[in-house]
Amino acid sequence: MFYQSPLRTITLIAALCFLAIYASFGSYFAREIVIEIIILAILAISLDFCAGFGGMVSLCHGAMMGIAAYFYGMMSVKLGWGLTASAGIGLAAAVIFAGCVGWVTARISGIFFIMATLAFGQMAYTIFFRWRWLGGDDGMGGMRRFDLSAWGVNLNDGLIFTFWALGILLLVYILSALLLRSGFGRSLSGIHANEGRMQALGINTATIRTQAMAFSGLMAGLAGILAAQHTFYISPELLVWTLSGEVLLVVILGGIGTLVGPIIGAILLVLMKHSISAYTDYWHIFVGLVLIFAVLSGGRGIFGQGEYWWQKYMRGQHA
């Protein structure tokens, strides 16, 4: 069950400060890295929300993100809609997709749930891969960032856009935390712990699971719109299942079911990727080794393990 402990708050603030400082004092390349981290972290929080707290390990979070990005691109570039309205449509599309996946899979769990979400994600991928009007496998460009000049904010400035993205990451974290500590979120944890007993208590578990997936889709959709606005370009690669797998890796690396762990996982993965790939193309080997280490040492992940040691230490102090 979720609790926003002081340790989690401190870790969250430290992670956000690190990203802000890294972007502020770094080069253009550093800001690109920070935005890559932020987008991955939002997706990872979104996945931790349903996998870590609801036991729903999804392999279609990339698809949720990609659908939001594509609908944003389609509405704003192809149909000439306003950017805010297009973003709204993009988010709605991601929520509807995630809600449908959640509804259909509400009665299955474990490996079958994973396979079903994989199938849904790959279906979405195939649709955009084949859809020539939206560029098909070439992808599609021409997306624009929000125009906030009325508030004196120019999102086309790299650093300002980085802070904007950082703000969205914080927003997603707060939204997740508030939902997870609500009656709804507690029920979700209850379903994760013992779905049958929740039903015996009169809880419609299918409804809670569907809603959780829809909320997760909303957060993944925010990552998608951010990604589209960041590079001004989208491609079906956003939806492919290996991206969803990478997000799951980030969640496990950082600490599943901790909500702040995924941010740590995203920072580590992206930094490792960029520092190791300077020497070798086989950086995945090193990520794999770290992951194996993380799983073998209790499966709590980097933050999860730290939190475990901290709690143990605190109990020792009281005893």
Partner: protein, 251 residues
Amino acid sequence: MLEVKNLSKDFGGLQIIRDLSLKVEAGERRVILGPNGAGKTTLFHLLAGTLAPSQGEIRFDGAAIGALNAVRRARLGMARSYQKNNLFESLTIRENLMLAASAALGKSGKLFRDPRHDAAVKARIDEIAEQIALTETLDAQVSTAPYGIRRQLEVGIALATKPKLLLMDEPTSGVGPSMIDHFHRLLNQLPRSITLLIIEHDMDLAFDVADRISVLNFGEKLFEGTPTETKGNAMVRSIYLGEREGGEHNA
């Protein structure tokens, strides 16, 4: 309150419940007796809606509930405690009771409001914790708690919903005499607004608590009557209580 008419359940060719009829009045304490394999737990599955009957009718509070699933029946005020502990293992005792209390008080689907800080939920948790004598251990992790405590919690989760009808499947199975005594007192203290249907193997407890006793064997109702009538019935003694005269303890 609860009326079962001509209920049958078969798995393939095997008939577990045969043409069973029962009538339980509001506020009644009804004990179900029967040897292993008599169909007692299956009967609870049929009543709670986790299994569908092959034939027959179930009425609860005057309404036919045969077509309702387990979730809908729970919402009508039916709760159940299990023969094998069926807890939220990864959570604390307080969290277990909180889930049950929030469900009963309609706080389970609320967005953005933490049931932990809800006055009604808190009051319910404290009340039940006191009833099941777990006030001191509320923040213990269920997965590492001793068996006796887990057994108390099993009943506590069901009680926390303040049901109209409580189905208890061998609440004292596997616990020692002191806890049976405590449980005995707890049952006597429960208000008559709760109707109790109990599967129980502890004879002292069963005969003392019960208003009426139904004896099942091979899925059929063999006998039904007051505790005194049950004790005096020769057929019940031979089939359920076995050869031992008096049959005070039959595990």
